[in-house]
């Protein structure tokens, strides 16, 4: 008899152990089928000459060699993406911070302003592109009309290689509502006493911003810094639809280069190698930002030890 109870007890124990895994199983399965599997697959593909139809052939590191030494488009598109990032990342953070600081004052209707700033983040990339294409239009665009009122002759924004990338930066910045929201949340969690104490000691407003707000907000700034870099590297929809990479490939982003290699030239292996280079660059940049963060990110409740041993 006791054997039956034993087995029952064992079974119950087993079910109890299994339950949590059953609950998280959707994600585990998804991880294998839609994340890890594809990652491994893509890594393997990057060592093959792998057309969509036809025979694949193992070619070792040839894809990587060709990309780095014989394909000028690789370097050109990488440079376009870096230029875009150099404009987009700082402006995204600084303007997001500016909006957040403005909204964090006790202003009437701050809810309405917050909604307005967030609105563009709600609409689709395709809608955003059609809106901006019409604004930038050389002949009928509202932007050049407004510039004309100020006596400035606006350029052909999307048709001029000198201006097209900047036009895409501006269109992308229109969607900085998400960054603003994150920084605003960060601002609201800074204890008010800090500001009051500083005010009483006669610290001026700009100094309060630099010596209280920025350090207290630094973990959030770190987060937005990394997500902005990732966003910059993945920039595809806007460029694809607004300029198609032109004029003169001045807006030919790295993500578009990958897309073309895969779905226009059907060089799946080569495109997989491209995408791994992108992954490694993003990873390296994020690591650098993280590493540097010990010097500029301040975590509350973490005492700074004397000296700078880790640096």
């Amino acid at each position: 008899m006791s054997g039956v109870y034993d087995r029952q007890y064992q079974r119950q124990k087993f079910v109890e152990k299994l339950t949590p895994y059953l609950f998280i199983s959707p994600w585990i399965l998804g991880f294998f089928f839609f994340t890890l599997g594809p990652l491994v697959f893509s890594f393997v593909m990057s060592f093959y000459d792998w057309p969509v139809v036809g025979d694949r052939e193992f070619i070792g590191t040839q894809n990587y060699e060709v990309m780095l030494t014989q394909d000028p488009l690789f370097w050109d598109s990488l440079w376009v993406t870096i230029k875009f990032g150099l404009f987009f990342v700082p402006f995204n953070i600084v303007l997001g911070l500016l909006l957040a600081v403005l909204l964090n004052q006790k202003v009437i209707g701050s809810g309405i302003f917050r909604t307005i700033f967030y609105l563009p983040s709600v609409i689709s990339g395709v809608a955003l592109v059609t809106i901006w294409a019409w604004i930038y239009s050389h002949e009928y665009g509202i932007l050049n009309f407004l510039l004309g009122l100020a006596g400035i002759q606006g350029p052909n924004w999307l048709g001029d290689p000198n201006w097209a990338l900047l036009a895409i930066v501006v269109a992308s910045l229109w969607g900085l509502g998400g960054t603003m929201l994150i920084l605003l949340t960060g601002l609201q969690s800074i204890p008010k006493e800090l500001y009051e104490a500083a005010k009483m000691s006669g610290v001026p407003g700009w100094a309060r911003l630099i010596f209280i707000t920025i350090p207290m907000l630094s973990p959030m700034l770190l987060f937005t810094f990394i997500t902005s870099i990732i966003a910059a590297f993945q920039q595809l929809t806007i460029a694809l639809l607004l300029t198609g990479g032109g004029p003169l490939e001045s807006t030919y982003f790295f993500a578009m280069y990958i897309y073309d290699n895969a779905f226009k030239h059907f060089e799946m292996g080569y495109a997989a190698a491209n995408s791994w280079v992108m992954f490694l660059i993003i990873l390296a940049l994020s690591m650098m930002v993280m590493k540097s963060s010990s010097a500029w990110v301040y975590y509350e409740g973490e005492m700074k030890k004397g000296g700078n041993k880790d640096a």
Partner: protein, 270 residues
């Protein structure tokens, strides 16, 4: 002085954020004669509402709408269900490897879509899913890391005593999830549902890569097609753009409170 500056800056910036919307809207309802007028007409004298209907019938937008609706509804259901299930698993159980698995889950948010795009295309191709809506729906049934994180944070704020009391009364883990946590999670589920709805509704690259046939197109693809087909038909492009913006905007207004609270909740309780 400072207050005047604050309001001045806020109003100026708001105008900058609103103007593109307004400009698109009036472009959609302008008559042909006012469309190309210079200096531009900011307040159309002759508002042509029928432009929306004309634009709608220039392409099979009812088919696109049906496809978009199927994708959005089906995938949102899957996302809400799977993400909350997984979040409950992480929030309420101690099991071997939990913390490591959770860190892996968070790390997957960093992987660029471009890296997965090519192998996913091959994978769906092998399954025979290319040119069907499945690639846009099925993955949503396997929980998304960001939403799991958000919902887990939410569940962790619920006192564990509630679970224990229910267990005393004989409820099993499934019942505790289904009867207690799911209803309690409602505000967070609204947030997740809204975010997912917007992502699915606005998605362009997924449909672009996985769908070939016009009869399978979603609205975003249809709108982008417009650019190629009738490049000069600005009125129709603007009209469809306005229509495409309406559902996410309405949803956003209803869910706004949850979005703002959710953003605050997930960071403070982090």
């Amino acid at each position: 002085m400072l207050r005047a500056f604050t309001y001045g800056a806020l109003i100026f910036l708001s105008a900058m954020f609103i103007l593109p919307f307004y400009w698109t809207f009036i472009t959609a309802v302008k008559s042909v004669s006012e469309l190309y007028q210079y200096p531009p007409v900011f307040w159309p004298s002759d508002v042509q509402w029928e432009n929306f209907i004309t634009a709608w019938f220039k392409q099979p937008f009812d088919v696109y709408f049906k496809n978009s609706a199927i994708v959005v509804v089906m995938s949102t259901i899957g996302q809400l269900f799977s993400s909350s299930l997984v979040a409950y698993g992480f929030a309420r159980f101690h099991f071997k490897g939990r913390d490591v698995i959770f860190i892996i889950l968070l790390a997957t948010m960093m992987i660029p879509w471009d890296v997965k795009m090519i192998p996913l295309y091959m994978e769906f191709n092998m399954l025979g899913w290319i040119n069907t809506l499945k690639p846009l729906i099925v993955p949503a049934y396997f929980a998304e890391a960001f939403f799991v994180f958000l919902l887990r944070q939410y569940i962790m704020t619920v006192p564990i005593e509630i679970d224990e009391a229910a267990r005393m009364d004989g409820a099993n883990s499934w019942q505790i999830y289904w009867r207690i946590h799911l209803p309690l999670m409602m505000p967070a589920l609204v947030l997740v549902g809204t975010f997912h709805f917007m992502n699915a509704w606005n998605d362009y690259l997924g449909p672009l890569i996985f769908l070939n046939d016009q009869s399978k197109y979603t609205l975003t693809l249809g709108l982008s097609m417009f650019k190629g087909l009738h490049e000069t038909d600005i009125t129709s492009i603007a009209a469809i753009t306005v229509l495409l913006c309406i559902p996410p905007l309405i949803l956003f207004f209803f869910a706004q409170r949850y979005i703002m609270d959710g953003a605050i909740g997930s960071s403070v309780k982090g």
